[in-house]
């Protein structure tokens, strides 16, 4: 009996050693999970979050069609932040601890990214910010945090340079109260004051439906404002255009309407109609004339599947996901330190240009550069265009700034024909 027990034990031990590599191989084949944190449902920014998620799925599908990553399938795991910082933190914690994601990309709201940053640091999980603009996100200098979107400071520089070139002297602004809004307004006010441009800002809640009283107040100005900056995102971005136009405030021959990139969505025409003709819109990306091969190809796939073109925000989600995959490929493993190292030295061309991060652990941010340049893609482009026809696609709008891409000279823009 004792002999039999010994034989069985030996057989069991041997079978373990024979089977172990097979189990290990099976584990190796487990999919690589990448977290995608976006607002997908109310209350915040879901009209942007949903198409960004579609773009991330498109990127994952492309990687898998090409054989996966390190021989394994890639899965995009969604974390719905709902645009609420505390929820953003909770879903990120779930992605890291339960879903065991090897990296995270995304975010539309700076407040959400700020709430998550310590988690990336504490759990040592690489993160690529797709659309959070607050300077502080990269300025903190966290090893794991990278960003490919614009920053509030960079955005302000480019926009205000156009306003100066266009010769504006008096600007009225409605600014939404969010982390992004307050941060960008602080920079804008500073830049306007430095440029000697008279300005006044009225702040609004993100859920504001009716802007008429404030617009009517601005409309009382004599002389009138040269430019009205409707710095509002979400559905409010369209409402404010219609309300300003119905009141005869902007866009008019006297007052230019400068809108946020929310107006890149085609629904601007459905909601604002002819009021959106002649508005000036910011696009944080390349103009059609500078599109890369990747931009053209991916836009075509996206349009075929979802019936709409990608705007720059959506492209950011695709690029961020692909960039994370490229870093994993370059690192040859899912080890977080190896991924961070690979990102610091990466060079990859996506939909919005060639990505690289000049400042990081091996090359710290020099004294003459702002802190937010840490792990920040420096070539993020912004251009301004004007819708010149009702129902026009952003790709067909007239590029008015910066001079290297502008179709009009010296900051000029189209002036609407007066309403009868």
């Amino acid at each position: 009996m004792k002999h039999l027990v010994t034989v069985i034990s030996i057989v069991l031990c041997l079978s373990f050693f024979v089977a172990a590599p097979a189990f290990a191989a099976e584990e190796e084949k487990e999919p690589i999970q990448i977290g995608v944190v976006l607002p997908m449902s109310p209350p915040g920014g879901y009209e942007s979050g949903n198409p960004m998620w579609w773009a991330a799925l498109q990127a994952a599908a492309e990687v898998n069609e090409a054989g996966g990553l390190l021989g394994r399938e890639v899965i995009a795991v969604l974390g719905d932040t709902r645009g609420v910082p505390e929820e953003a933190r909770a879903v990120t914690e779930r992605l890291i601890t339960k879903d065991k994601v090897v990296g995270v990309i995304g975010n539309y709201h700076s407040s959400c990214a700020k709430a998550q940053m310590d988690l990336f640091k504490d759990h040592n999980v690489p993160y690529i910010g797709a659309e959070p603009w607050a300077d502080e996100i990269t300025a903190k200098g966290y090893k794991q945090v990278f960003r490919i979107s614009i920053t509030n400071s960079l955005y302000t520089d480019i926009s205000v340079n156009w306003m100066k070139a266009a010769g504006f002297k008096k600007i009225a602004c409605v600014q939404e109260i969010t982390d992004w809004g307050l941060g960008v307004n602080e920079k804008l006010k500073q830049a306007w004051n430095d440029a000697g441009i008279e300005n006044e800002s009225a702040f609004s809640d993100v859920k504001t439906e009716d802007f008429t009283e404030t617009l009517a107040r601005f409309n009382q100005w004599d002389p009138p404002a040269d430019m009205f900056f409707g710095s509002v995102t979400g559905p409010g971005a369209f409402r404010i255009i219609k309300q300003a136009y119905d009141m005869g405030f902007a866009p008019t021959p006297k007052t230019v309407f400068y809108a946020t990139n929310a107006c890149l969505n085609p629904e601007v025409w459905e909601v604002a109609g002819e009021a959106a003709q002649y508005i000036v819109v910011t696009q944080i990306g390349l103009p059609p004339s500078a599109y890369t091969e990747v931009t053209k190809k991916q836009n075509e796939i996206f349009e075929k599947k979802y019936g709409r073109l990608m705007n720059a925000t959506v492209m950011e989600a695709y690029d961020a996901f692909m960039l994370m995959c490229e870093a994993i490929k370059k690192a040859g493993s899912t080890d977080p330190d190896a991924i961070v190292e690979a990102l610091e030295s990466i060079e990859w061309t996506g939909m919005r240009g060639k990505y690289y991060f000049p400042y990081g652990s091996k090359n710290p941010v020099p004294e003459d550069q702002p802190d937010y340049m840490w792990h920040q893609w420096p070539d993020v482009s912004e251009y301004l265009f004007q819708y010149t026809k009702v129902g026009q696609s952003p790709e067909d709008g007239t590029v008015i700034w910066p001079p290297k891409w502008s179709e009009l000279p010296d900051g000029q823009y189209f002036v609407p024909v007066p309403k009868k």
């Binding site: 449902s41 109310p42 209350p43 879901y46 009209e47 979050g49 949903n50 198409p51 409605v174 109260i177 006044e200 800002s201 009225a202 702040f203 609004s204 809640d205 859920k207 504001t208 439906e209 009716d210 802007f211 008429t212 009283e213 404030t214 009517a216 107040r217 009382q220 979400g234 559905p235 369209f238 409402r239 119905d246 009141m247 969505n265 629904e267 459905e270 909601v271």
Partner: protein, 300 residues
């Protein structure tokens, strides 16, 4: 500092928008007065109303937008009736152990369900229905948006119609009877369950009508009803829980106060940001001196 025309225009705008607030709050008050529950999904009925009007306009091109409003009212009558029959009947029959908590949970659930349902069905992007009357209307020296004026006019007609219905019709009287004393009403032959179902349907339809009327003005998204829903509670409490005339007057007061606050507060940077706060200040002041609201009954 401000011209008389400017002040008149803002006042008119506040009253016009107040009519729409009142219509929505009236729906909530009808439900509360008969069923003694607060419908936390009221804002979502408003949202569904907007989407129904939009859906019909999309399916049948070139449709008169008023038909969309009528369609929204009919759909919400059915939705309201079905919801009451499916989820609130246990409440009427007294088979729920903790009816107040049950009503809160089930209407909250309805709110989340409808928001996410519409997000799935209609997508995340905003939509707007065709204008009732494009451009502005000049009344003397002031100008008001045509859409707002028409929407307020229709809201007034609907409110007047409801008042007549409650006062003159047998069903309206039954609703009043049930709202006063459910048991006594049933002794006289009124079916309180059926009356409650009618009240809930009418309340939902009024919210739906507000949503359809506001759709050309503010556009619609899945969470468009959240703010109006909260505002309706404030109006109903301000006017007095269950008071029809309180809901109407409360709506007009809140509309006027919000508009005049945003228009006249000297610090322009904050005037718009605190738009909803002005109504709340009036609400707190009224409750401090008159806890039962403007026309509410005193509880013994």
């Amino acid at each position: 500092m401000f011209s008389v025309d400017y002040i008149l225009m803002q006042g008119a705008n506040g009253l016009v928008i107040g009519c729409l607030y009142a219509l929505m709050a009236l729906g909530l008050t009808v439900i509360f007065s008969v069923l003694k529950i607060i419908n936390f999904g009221h804002g979502e009925f408003y949202m569904i109303g907007g989407y129904m009007s939009y859906a019909l306009a999309t399916l049948v091109g070139g449709l008169n937008p008023f038909v969309g409003v009528l369609f929204a009212i009919v759909v919400l009558l059915v939705v309201g009736s079905a919801f009451d029959a499916l989820f609130l009947r246990p409440l009427h029959k007294g088979i729920v152990e903790r009816p107040d908590e049950y009503a809160i949970l089930v209407t909250f659930g309805l709110s989340f369900f409808l928001q996410n349902l519409m997000l799935g069905l209609a997508g995340p992007f905003p939509h707007r229905t065709e204008s009732f009357l494009p451009g502005g209307i000049h009344v003397g020296s002031i100008m008001i948006s045509g859409d707002r004026l028409v929407a307020a006019g229709v809201a007034l007609i609907l409110m007047f119609g409801l008042l007549l219905f409650i006062k003159m019709s047998w069903t309206g009287r039954a609703m009043r009877a049930v709202s006063q004393d459910r048991e006594a009403a049933s002794v006289t032959g009124i079916n309180p369950v059926r009356t409650g179902n009618i009240a809930f349907s009418i309340g939902a339809a009024l919210a739906g009508a507000s949503g359809a009327l506001i759709a050309p003005i503010f556009s619609i998204v899945p969470d468009v009803g959240v703010l109006p829903g909260v505002r309706s509670f404030i109006i109903v409490v301000l006017g007095g829980m269950g008071s029809v005339k309180g809901a109407i007057l409360g709506g007009l007061i809140i509309g006027l106060v919000e508009s005049m606050g945003a228009a006249l507060i000297p610090d322009m940077s904050r005037a718009l940001a605190y738009r909803e706060l002005y109504g709340l200040i009036i609400f707190v002041i009224v409750l401090l001196f008159r806890p039962r609201g403007l026309f509410g009954e005193e509880y013994s």
